[in-house]
């Protein structure tokens, strides 16, 4: 039997898609037309705000009184930026918190690529966070001691967010594993802790940590207020992260654990090298969500008297020399939060794509 030779198939491209004209896009049907008009109306309504923020704004001045004409007073933000960013940290020592912010950014940048992830990177993070705390506190090598009660602003916000998520994460993993354990004691303890913490508002946890905890401790014991606040945030982060990670663990095929078992890989090494990396890859979007929420949650520490960025901003705005520029302060602080959160969000999108490209193509 002879085989017929087929000529090679010619390459064909799909037909070009016609572009919709702009007018049709905006007013093509009733709903589009309504939405377009609504958007235009919104823009018009916002024009006075634009006037306030840009045209009538005072951008720089030496004299606070020029700010009393009704426009936005960006000169004030300029004047108080250091106070908002660093709180009541001694001004001549501001290079220290600035360096800490730089270090956090550098560490974050250095940790972006999943290629570098591993026990070594975790150790470097641990050491550099200790170094940052040391740098903030001082009291050695000729650095004047700055007690945590004088820390404030952006470094406090960043340190609280990074430390609560970072310290909370291993606890979250332990809680998630505990909740899935076949052994009754770890399971009950995990379920109890997770549900208890999730059932409490963060404000409540913060009050318990900052007011109740010192009363419960034996005479003569004190824990730093910032430390107590961090502990409360960490417990809170751990409970939420635990549920996210549990979702990821459930998504890992049980054949993975069986294959590792059959190869003789010990239990904890299986968890660390085989199960967890896959579980975490599956829950990057909800992990990002929790991270962003925790960054913003740090602003609640203000109510127990810790000067995070928002607290420092409010303190700055209270200066009687300026005409109560609260709106400008909040906008500036909001912009800072927005930049942090959008950066986390963009990174997580990139990470998700990278992970996806790597394992399925």
């Amino acid at each position: 039997m002879s085989v017929t030779e087929h000529p090679p198939l010619a390459a064909r491209t799909p037909p070009a898609k016609a572009r919709t004209p702009l007018v049709r896009l905006l007013f093509g049907d009733v709903l589009s037309a309504l939405l377009t008009l609504l958007a235009l109306g919104l823009i018009l309504a916002l024009l006075p705000a634009l006037n306030w923020a840009v045209l009538d704004a005072v951008w720089s001045t030496e004299d606070p009184d020029t700010c009393r004409q009704g426009g936005a007073c960006w000169a004030y933000v300029q004047d108080k930026a250091r106070l908002i960013l660093f709180g009541i940290y001694p001004p001549e020592q501001h290079w220290r918190p600035l360096l800490v912010i730089g270090l956090i950014l550098a560490m974050v940048l250095a940790s972006l690529s999943p290629r570098l992830w591993g026990a070594r990177l975790l150790a470097i993070w641990g050491l550099s966070l200790l170094a940052m705390l040391g740098l903030m506190r001082g009291g050695f090598l000729g650095l004047p001691l700055v007690p945590t009660s004088q820390w404030g602003g952006l470094p406090v916000t960043l340190l609280l967010a990074v430390l609560s998520l970072g310290i909370g994460f291993p606890f979250a993993v332990a809680l998630a594993l505990g909740r899935r354990s076949a052994l009754p004691v770890p399971r009950l303890v995990s379920v109890g802790l997770i549900e208890l913490v999730r059932g409490l508002p963060l404000v409540g946890v913060l009050f318990v940590a900052s007011i109740l905890l010192p009363l419960l401790l034996p005479e003569g014991w004190t824990i730093d207020k910032l430390g107590r606040t961090l502990a409360a945030l960490t417990v809170f982060a751990a409970a939420y992260l635990a549920e996210v990670i549990r979702g990821g663990l459930q998504g890992v095929d049980k054949g993975q654990g069986e294959a590792a078992q059959a190869l003789g890989i010990p239990f904890w090494k299986t968890i660390w090298h085989i199960i967890l990396p896959q579980a975490i890859q599956k829950v990057i979007p909800p992990l990002t969500n929790t991270a962003i929420i925790m960054v913003k949650n740090t602003s609640l520490v203000m109510i127990v008297g810790v000067f995070d960025m928002l607290g420092a901003g409010r303190a700055a705005a209270a200066d009687p020399a300026w005409p109560a520029p609260y709106t400008e302060t909040y906008l500036f602080v909001a912009l800072m939060y927005f930049l942090i959160c959008i950066a986390i969000s963009l990174y997580s999108r990139w990470l998700e794509q990278t992970v996806k490209n790597r394992s399925h193509s």
Binding site: A259, L263, G264, I265, P266, P277, R358
Partner: protein
């Protein structure tokens, strides 16, 4: 010296009696094919042999080590017994090379350089050395199963268990996996293979075991098994799968 000695093995899932009074002795170098209808307990049997499933009564001795809840015995047995799964169970977040190298490092503390060299050697042996930098998801099913075989071989086991290794594969990929297994059998590996590939059974098996309802109904050489099956259930089963 026997490679595997099973006697009086019974296993229940709840009240369901999955394995009944199994007696089985496997000599070193012996190749055994286990077949039977689905739900007959054949997968459960080989999963008991490296204790992915526990059993309730009877004894299993692998290379002289009894399988009990004793963790030291268990890791000794798992070091000697490799397993290949129906769905490959490769680690999707690791490259092919790392799939083969990392288990050696984690389970035995092998140095990385040595583990990678061995991984490359066995990937060569299953004839896919060129795929070592890829991730499992980028490979065809047949290639993935060959990586899974290489991964198991990297632990240098004395016995290999195959749990329906070709059932999840597209027809055109079954051959490449069977060829790899035949080459392994020709090298003298002790193998227990759960499969419906009767061609493979005829070609390499020293003994074919037919299971039904958790029992071993019949065991014989391939010639006898296919030429002169004793049991009515065996004949019925063979008629169903060999058209």
């Amino acid at each position: 010296m026997t490679a595997i000695a099973v006697s009086g093995l019974n296993k229940w899932y709840g009240s369901y009696h999955a394995l009944r009074d199994i007696d089985l002795t496997v000599a070193p170098g012996e190749r055994i094919v286990v077949c039977g209808p689905s739900g007959s307990g054949k997968s459960t049997l080989i999963r008991c042999l490296n204790r992915l499933e526990g059993h309730q009564s009877g004894s299993i001795v692998v290379n002289g080590t009894p399988l009990t809840d004793d963790l030291k015995n268990l890791s000794a047995v798992r070091r000697e017994v490799g397993m290949v799964f129906q769905h490959f169970n490769l680690f999707p977040h690791l490259t092919v090379l790392e799939n083969c190298a990392l288990p050696q490092i984690l389970a035995r503390g092998t140095r990385r350089a040595e583990a990678e060299a061995r991984a490359r050697r066995y990937l060569e042996r299953v004839r896919i050395p060129e795929q070592s930098a890829k991730f499992p998801g980028q490979l065809s099913g047949g290639q993935q199963q060959r990586v899974a075989i290489a991964r198991a071989l990297c632990m240098e086991p004395r016995v290999m268990l195959f749990d329906e290794p070709t059932s999840a594969l597209d027809p055109e990929m079954i051959k490449e996996v069977l060829e790899t297994m035949i080459a392994l059998a020709d090298d003298g590996m002790t193998m227990i293979v759960v499969t419906h590939e009767m061609g493979f059974a005829r070609r390499v098996a020293d003994r074919v075991i037919f299971m039904d309802a958790g029992q071993i109904m019949e065991q014989a050489s391939p010639e006898d098994f296919f030429g002169n099956p004793h049991h009515a259930r065996t004949r019925e089963f063979l008629e169903q799968i060999v058209h």
